[in-house]
Subunit: 345 residues, 4 copies
């Protein structure tokens, strides 16, 4: 019995995920789609040769009994409403980040889900499914480097356009580090600060780029995250955890080592799709398998979506205040307790 | 419409591939199985929870209309007969290496397939689907290093047991390099020689280990391949192509870089399953997709299986003679012309 | 004509430098030594087989006409007085860091030297002579990465003993980064801040370790420097400059790459002597050659010693206040203008 | 008491070594020079500001009592005669490779030296003084990788001119590997073979390039050495020893790691001077120190020069015959027994 997906939002990433589910992964089908742009929804059906119904909106789609899981890939502001309706309907949800655009919105989902009684929702933070991060997580869990004390990471992108605004550095770019790092070190955030180094002349007028974000966790781990979205040279994700007894570092993306023209080199990717393609596949396959065989998803939860929202808000505030901003999080409910890596695989 | 596989041989790798097809890949199902060990065939159905018929032998299995493709994972000596029957029945075949245990046997398959009129058979040489080798192939095709002149490679394994005999170094170990390297440099082999360095004290009495194999191609490329199956330290596949203008090298398997106890290190794998798991997945998905959407497989062909057999035979002869042994190959038939990487993806 | 050195302080590093000058470098001799511990001075003469006079104190030593340059390797608090006397006597001075223990002391030397009319003093900041840092400096000067925007560096040491106090993290450990980094990016410091991550359980009661120091330069470059003196795994100096168009990173110390026991590894050094031995040699040879052939030293100047003192003081203050502390530096006098790397070699 | 050098041959490398001895190293002076080109000898004195006598020829130079050691940097064919005269005169000799151009010539020197009763001669094989090779040697001596079984190495050069003839690939290029490798693995050569891969189109008409040399030692170690003198991309020396329990590899030359324009790269040198500058310095300083303090040199001996000559001759023969050529070496005389690395430093 394959898992029937209904897709809400057939834009760029919606289509990518549809292709992924139909052409690469196993155990699921697309049975229904919708988009406020109905033409686009229709076209998607045609282009990708799907055997699926097109619905007018998410509510209609949710009434289709063949829809067992909803893939929410609409614009961020539309996520909350669809997710809440899906929970109401008792359907599984895979929602691209953000879970909701406000912390309150996330909390409403958290509460609805708890009320429902078991996990239905997974948020699209795919980095936890990246092989490199997984190896780091395991090494840390196995105490390979002792207690983590510091993290140094970087999120670099060749360039961004006019539409990229200052707060997107937190809400669209850093958001992945926000989710990954607290999971990686197994701790919660306490505060966030943003500092602005000398601005690169390659950034547009309205932006400040690069930015350095300092996160501190409750146990005192200090995380320095560089965000540099006009770094020119490539899409480059770095992460290094410094522990009491040693250091682990994300492996470089494996590309050919070459010798040519006086250079001993290898390639750096230019975009995130290539960088995290395997992670996206792992993420969805895990969602499909968990839902089918364990009856609930085990990836990033609504609670993780809530943490990201609260931290993101504090980050945007910190961008403006240039001060240390507290991150106030209630204790993680029992319902959302994290599992060790070995319990998950 | 998914592709229905009938599996002949539910041993170690047969089961691995069944799991792969059912749990990871898309577009195919296992509809029938057989094994001379009927109990094992039955048990496989149960263990892996397959909805498949168990047949007495390959002939019976081939009569099942739901079987559109045959997966041949029996012992090597049994391959030829099953493949010939499958071609006779007009079914697609994925056959683990070797295609057949003799060059003549391979040639019989080549002829049967040509008589059939279109490609049906793919041989399980998965390295061509490894990401690193693919990047090398593309770099060479794009003339990134000019004409290839030399290749240096190594196939290292931690240790082997009592049953590993001298000729297995060629027929089971080197066989993968034999297939990969002529494809990589786009040339055919002319001769092979085996030399024996000082023997490691870690090898059993009856074995000579390491061995160095020198292959020369028709255009004069010289390939040095080290086979070292008791190297102790890990499973380690190396390959480097030296061209007129530069060198490309297979990337190391990406593992965490760590600093600990005075060592800046990363891990080396211990077995081939981990090393080539992605390649196996890519290989099968490509077989499934090609058969479904293009009507024929596009991976390593019967002709490639034949090349491997002829080269393997010459290699075993060279192990004994310690002389340069010619590799006599007819010209590649039009029917089996290789495609460029970009035509394949 | 070789350069005659008089050595003030024949302790650990004094003896190292004497050996260096007599056994490895060219163009200089030790002609006189003194130490408050006269026995040690005598013993040094004997142990190292020097043909040199032993004097009662620095004043007596300075009156020896054969002393053309003074090597000051006494304890820090004694440096200022000896250096001032040497300038008074018109002799060249190589003084181990610190130039003086207070900013005022350094300023007195700066003023005395300017009054003298030409440079006499070089301070023992040897990192500028390390091959890796030199390559970084040249790359930056050649605009290889565009304008520098951020620096990430780390100073890691396996462990420290009882006597290592909190302020030594700034004054003895970070002091080398303090000198190297403003030179590297060609800018002056504006402020310093110290933050304390979670403390390692390997550090003694009285210490806070690791520490993270944030330096900001006048043009807005932000430098994050990790000081971690009980990191266990080795002596590890890292430095990375992130510019508008690319990044340059200090090369790892070249050691054998090995494959053994499942590890692809190389070694990490355990102490600073091995790490910077070549730099010490280059530093002294340059001092000797410059003084002999150009009539003045060209390495780190009194002004650099003054910068280090002011920055160090602010750093110690920042350790206590846990606030951003300003670094107030007058403009660099014309007399101490920095030269480009190519003017130096 | 410094060591007085008389230099025979003030050509390119003669001048380099003179500069080295006078400007970088300690314990030696140039007291006399000669060259068949007397003008050049005179000019050298002037250019390098030497306080040395110019002699008509080597015989005259050897009569100068201030000449305690002779540096032979004339053309290869002139070496033997000068070395023999120097031994006759009881003077130390540092002779650039080759010791003599024929094996017989080398043997005459070996015999003269033995007759003299203690070592006087060191041959200019500087690689043994390269830090990377030293680390390899120590690792092997310490049994870090168990018994060595195979060696893979490469000697690559960007390009060569008209004058570079086929035999120079052995006598001028490979000669350094010839000396280094038997020392590295502590064994003697048994045979040599040369094979010619496909020729690069970048090589001139008269040359065959690349070449692969296979050396076998008495205990059965097999060495594959690639010589590629028109490799275009850089000067690149590689060496890897594969032992029973692991592998050690020469470290890459440490250059900046950078990220720029989609490349994660570091630099490859373009010439041998930069590559082996430190080795040359270590080599000469060791010669000077050993002669001064131990009364004899401890670097590569006349016997090593003889081995190189015999092996070189066999190599040139192998270039022509394209067969395995025996290398016939008498047992190493007690007089020339090798020392372990730790006995040397
Ligand atoms: N995990 C990641 O790395 C990652 C990467 C890219 C995008 N995303 C997230 O995915 C989401 C979609 O991004 P995108 O790049 O595909 O955007 P997009 O604009 O290409 O597509 C969004 C689509 O949703 C449709 N839509 C909007 N509101 C809707 C509604 N109420 N009901 C139905 N359809 C609606 C739009 O018409 C549009 O076709 C965003 O939330 C984004 O943050 C995540
Ligand atoms: N591509 C690779 O890297 C790779 C790796 C491992 C194995 N292989 C190949 O796969 C094949 C199987 O290897 P394995 O390790 O699974 O062996 P195995 O012994 O575990 O399994 C073989 C199975 O085939 C069955 N069998 C034998 N003859 C049969 C016949 N005539 N009809 C039906 N069943 C028959 C046996 O009973 C057994 O269960 C071999 O040819 C091997 O070379 C390839
Ligand atoms: N550049 C570097 O990396 C580096 C490394 C180590 C030490 N140092 C510096 O070198 C200096 C010496 O350090 P050390 O480790 O050799 O210390 P040390 O204690 O081993 O030696 C100092 C010596 O100076 C003598 N001395 C003290 N006051 C004197 C005076 N007024 N006149 C004559 N002699 C006097 C002492 O008796 C002692 O023998 C310190 O300033 C230290 O910071 C620099
Ligand atoms: N170890 C190395 O890596 C290395 C590198 C380069 C050269 N070498 C060796 O150094 C030697 C010199 O090479 P070069 O490049 O300097 O050559 P070069 O031609 O530049 O210099 C040789 C000099 O010797 C002089 N000369 C020749 N015969 C003489 C004689 N009988 N008496 C006095 N002077 C004589 C010539 O006039 C010339 O000035 C060669 O044997 C070469 O193989 C070794």
């Amino acid at each position: 019995m394959t898992l029937g997906f209904g897709v809400v939002g057939t834009g760029a990433i919606g289509r990518e995920h549809i292709k992924r589910i139909t052409k690469t992964l196993t155990g699921a089908d697309i049975v229904a789609v919708t988009d406020v742009n109905q033409e686009l929804a229709e076209k998607t059906i045609g282009d990708l040769d799907l055997n699926a119904n097109v619905y007018e909106d998410d509510s209609a789609l949710l009434q289709d009994d063949n829809v067992q899981a909803v893939l929410v890939t609409s614009w961020g502001p539309a996520h909350e409403s669809t997710v809440l309706k899906a929970i109401e309907a008792g359907k599984f949800v895979f929602v691209e980040k953000p879970l909701a655009t406000t912390a309150e919105g996330c909390m409403r989902i958290v509460e609805a889900e708890q009320k429902h009684g078991k996990r239905l929702v997974q948020v699209g933070f795919m980095r936890r499914y990246d092989n490199g991060y997984r190896q780091m997580k395991q090494a840390i869990e196995n105490n390979f480097i002792g207690e983590p004390l510091m993290v140094r990471c970087a999120h670099r992108n060749p360039e961004v356009g006019e539409r990229y605004t200052l707060d997107m550095a937190i809400l669209d770019t850093l958001i992945h580090e926000i989710d990954t790092l607290h999971w990686l070190v197994g701790d919660d955030y306490k505060s966030i600060q943003v500092t602005y180094p000398k601005k690169t002349s390659k950034a547009l007028e309205h932006l400040r780029d690069p930015q350095i974000v300092t996160l501190e966790t409750k146990s005192g781990i200090i995380i320095h995250a560089e965000i540099f979205v006009n770094c020119q040279f490539g899409y480059d994700i770095q992460c290094e955890v410094i522990g009491e007894e040693g250091i682990v570092k994300l492996p470089e993306v494996p590309t050919l080592e070459y010798r040519k023209d006086g250079v001993l080199g290898s390639g750096i990717l230019q975009d995130w799709q290539n960088r995290f393609n395997d992670a996206f596949n792992n993420e969805f396959q895990d969602f499909i398998d968990s839902v089918r065989h364990k009856g609930e998803p085990q990836g990033p939860s609504s609670w993780d979506g809530y943490i990201a929202a609260v931290t993101g808000d504090a980050g945007v505030k910190a961008q403006k205040s240039e001060k240390v901003e507290p991150i106030e999080l209630p204790d993680r409910p029992e319902f959302y307790q994290q599992k060790k890596s070995e319990e998950i695989v």
